[in-house]
């Protein structure tokens, strides 16, 4: 039996296991774990304890960033900071729809950009923004579509873009030069989305909105909100300005410092242990996914399945790669979530690099397309989370319908970034 056939059989066993597990309503992360186990057995390596545990630790650093950043955001929300900001924005700009849209866009982009998780955006600011959009007369499915798309783009936005980070790590490429190539399309596409879907929204009825929104604590102020962010910014900048005079702190500790400052400055008493427990509980599905993606990727690499996928992709006709990119990436995200980055992203970036495209711009273009898959079954984690947060009672297909136009624009922009990455390379140097 040729190596191609035997590896294809292992891949088939993994795919069948995954499908069967999903049909049996097993969670995505356990389905991936089951696929890894049967892949190992089919590949003749048995149940390789060392590789399972090693794979589980692949994304430990990213998981720690996730937990600490979300804890920071949750403390900010619990202290009344988020509602304070929303009320402040409404009071100031309730008559000016365009400015309101811009500010709501920033509000939605920030949590995901800092944490790399669209779910954090949905959970932290999604609900509040949904209330504001509701006061503007925008329907729930449209509101859900806005929040879903912007949450996805927030996850792709810098500084923490997991798809770009995981792929870059897989090809030994520094995660450097990505800031503008990720920020500009994410910002542009977010604004386009909110303006297209929210265009028919009316000015806010301020009195009604303020009455229905939760009250912010009396002592909450802009200083209390901005100080933790400033502290975080200071730690990031200090590490860059005086890197050889300060100890290495790491992003998780920086987020923890910001979280503690937020806790200290909170005008309301916060039960730190309870909020920490809730944060971990809230993130368990994502932590589980990242852990199982690591295990799956390790077993795929061990058995040669990853190589099979890689070699199949990099030897496809280039035009076919470009044309199918906008479909393959979201579908891979729907099946593997972040696992799509090391499995598909790595060979694609190597291919683009080999043919002379700019790998950073190309990867940034791919990174804005990937999150669209989070609304698609079988996982649809962010899509489902958004529906729950917004309180949408209409069929799920309504959300998908309103996502079509912005998704098509995102796919077009992402694909064009890949195709013309060489000409856009100057963005990596700015």
């Amino acid at each position: 039996m040729s190596i191609y056939t035997s590896t294809q059989i292992i891949l088939a066993v993994m795919v069948v296991t995954y499908i069967v597990a999903k049909v049996l309503k097993v969670s995505t992360e356990i389905s991936m774990f089951a696929a890894a186990l049967t892949g190992g057995l089919a590949g003749g390596v048995g149940i390789p304890a060392r590789h399972i545990v090693e794979g589980a630790f692949t994304y430990l650093d990213i998981i720690l960033i996730f937990i600490t950043a979300t804890l920071f955001m949750n403390i900010l929300k619990e202290s009344g900071g988020v509602v304070f900001v929303v009320r402040g924005i409404l009071r100031k700009f309730f008559r000016r729809k365009s400015i309101l849209f811009v500010l709501l866009t920033f509000l939605l982009l920030l949590p995901g950009a800092l944490t790399g998780a669209g779910s954090v955006t949905v959970l932290i600011t999604g609900g509040m923004v949904a209330i504001v959009l509701g006061y503007m007369g925008i329907s729930k499915p449209k509101t859900a579509a806005i929040i879903f798309i912007l949450a996805g783009l927030s996850a792709a936005a810098p500084p923490v873009s997991l798809w770009a980070m995981l792929t870059a790590a897989g090809v030994n490429m520094p995660y450097v030069g990505f800031f503008l190539p990720l920020l500009l399309p994410c910002l542009f596409l977010s604004l386009i989305t909110i303006f297209i879907l929210g265009w028919r929204g009316k000015p806010v009825n301020l009195e009604k909105a303020l009455k229905e929104l939760p009250e912010a604590p009396q002592k909450m102020s802009w200083i209390r909100i901005s100080l933790p962010f400033l502290a975080f910014l200071f730690l990031v900048l200090a590490g860059r300005i005086w890197p050889h005079s300060l100890p290495v702190v790491g992003l998780p500790m920086m987020f923890m410092a910001a979280a503690f400052i937020s806790l200290l400055l909170s005008p309301v008493k916060i039960n730190f242990l309870k909020i920490s427990r809730n944060t971990v509980h809230q993130l368990l599905p994502l932590i589980g996914t990242l852990t199982c993606v690591g295990i799956l990727v390790q077993i795929m690499t061990l058995t040669g399945v990853r190589g099979l996928i890689a070699i199949t992709i990099v030897t496809l006709p280039l035009i076919a790669v470009f044309i199918t990119l906008c479909l393959v990436l979201p579908v891979s995200e729907a099946v593997l979530m972040w696992g799509a980055a090391p499995v598909l992203g790595v060979p694609l970036v190597l291919l683009f690099n080999t043919i002379g495209l700019n790998p950073i711009i190309a990867l940034a273009g791919m990174s804005v397309i990937w999150p669209l898959g989070d609304v698609l079954p079988p996982t649809a984690i962010i899509g489902r989370l958004t529906v729950d947060t917004v309180g949408m009672k209409e069929p799920y297909s309504k959300l998908l319908k309103y996502c079509i136009i912005p998704a098509a624009i995102i796919m077009a922009v992402g694909t064009l970034m890949v195709v013309f990455s060489k000409k856009l390379a100057f963005f990596t140097l700015l």
Binding site: Y4, V53, F57, D61, N172, P174, P243, L302, L350
Partner: protein, 389 residues
């Protein structure tokens, strides 16, 4: 009281998790503590520790052995670094052959088998690497740790948000703060990896090393391959060695200039910060390619892979790849011959600083006899002549 299935499920899952952890833990412990014997060649006159040159490294995992071979006649001094990236085994195996076989008539040769010993104790997360590999020998076989490209996070963690290289302030990938070939020339009060480079720089300065040769292997999709990367000070030497090897040894090796703006690498910083000429040798290692198939010891040692061959047929590689692959003997043989050629050319051009070495096999001999033939049985050796990596 009704039976609680949830508790039973939790108990079973925790038990299974613990079983996995125990089996994996034993494997991790064994790899980290695997003893790799070095049976010293008659030519080794001293064994020092890296901390003899910088006390800041004492007691750490990176306080590596330095095997010193001294000739009767005074001459030049050369330092050979193996294990900068331990996942490139051809590098460490070459230094093993040198430390166990070389004898020096003139000058001095310093050999370090594990420049980044910490990186020899960990394997790539997500990489599916085997924990170790065995080189067959006439007396059985010798087992080596597999290793990774970066220092073990158990020894250096966390990574910074951004890695700013010292002293150039160039921003590099954050993870490369644990990469020994991105932290040159190092810092006395830096991280473990930076301190290791600092200690090596002190050695190079104190011992007045003339040439440093840093041994590596690379994936075939990487453009810097089958080449000598040379600092400006070593360009003529490297170019001449490349020409001579291509004409006499039965294989080709190129020569590339060390980019002046790319910081942290040995071929740049050693040349810039010390009196030594710095050269870096690259040999092809298909095991490192992202398109590789099954990741196992066979691929590591034989270097044969059909998927990588296919990538080559589509013009995606920077080195030829066929069904013969790149066996480890070929890679080690290339390193041995290139080192010998460099020394011969150096000695011809600098008679007062000659380094005359014998007992080291060349390319053809390594391929013909195998690496194991140049590794000595520790069971039959004088225990005082055995050191462990």
């Amino acid at each position: 009281m009704p039976f609680n299935w949830l508790y039973l499920r939790k108990f079973i899952l925790i038990t299974l998790g613990l079983v996995l952890m125990v089996f994996a833990g034993v494997s991790f412990y064994e790899s980290r503590h695997l003893k790799e014997p070095v049976v010293l060649s008659q030519g080794v006159t001293q064994v020092k520790k890296l901390s003899d040159y910088f006390r800041g490294i004492r007691g750490t995992i990176n306080d590596s052995n330095i095997y010193i071979l001294e000739g009767v006649k005074p001459g030049g001094t050369i330092l050979i670094l193996g294990g900068t990236h331990p996942e490139e085994p051809g590098s460490r195996l070459t230094t093993w052959i040198l430390a166990e076989n070389a004898e020096v008539d003139q000058g001095r040769v310093f050999v370090i088998n594990s420049a980044n010993r910490s990186a020899t104790t960990v394997t790539r997360l997500g990489g599916g690497y085997p924990p170790d590999f065995t080189i067959p020998t006439p007396w059985g076989g010798q087992k080596f740790r597999m290793g990774d490209r970066w220092s073990n996070p158990l020894d250096q963690w966390p990574d910074p948000e951004a890695y700013i290289h010292y002293p150039s302030r160039q921003e590099l990938a954050y993870v490369d703060i644990r990469n020994l070939n991105r932290t040159w020339p190092g810092r006395a009060n830096g991280t473990l990896t930076e301190k290791t480079c600092y200690a090596l720089i002190q050695l190079i300065r104190k011992e007045k090393v003339d040439i440093v040769i840093d041994l590596h292997e690379a994936e075939l999709q990487y453009p810097v391959i089958s080449t000598i990367v040379a600092h400006e000070k070593g360009q003529d030497l490297a170019a001449l060695a490349s020409m001579m090897i291509s004409g006499t040894e039965g294989f080709s090796i190129g020569m590339e200039y060390s980019p002046p703006a790319l910081h942290g690498l040995s071929h740049r910083e050693i040349g810039d910060h010390t009196q030594a000429i710095s050269l870096l040798l690259e040999a092809p290692e298909p095991f490192l390619d992202a398109t590789r198939g099954r990741t196992d010891r066979e691929l590591l040692l034989e270097g044969k892979d059909e998927f990588v061959v296919k990538a080559g047929k589509h013009g995606l590689l920077f080195e030829k790849m066929d069904e013969n692959g790149w066996p480890v003997e070929v890679r080690v043989g290339r390193h041995c011959s290139t080192i010998l050629q460099i020394l011969e050319l150096w000695s011809e051009e600098n008679p007062g600083k000659s380094v005359m070495v014998k007992g080291v096999p060349r390319y053809a001999e390594v391929i013909e006899k195998g690496i194991g033939n140049f590794l000595h049985d520790p069971a039959k050796a004088d225990s005082k002549r055995i050191y462990y990596e």
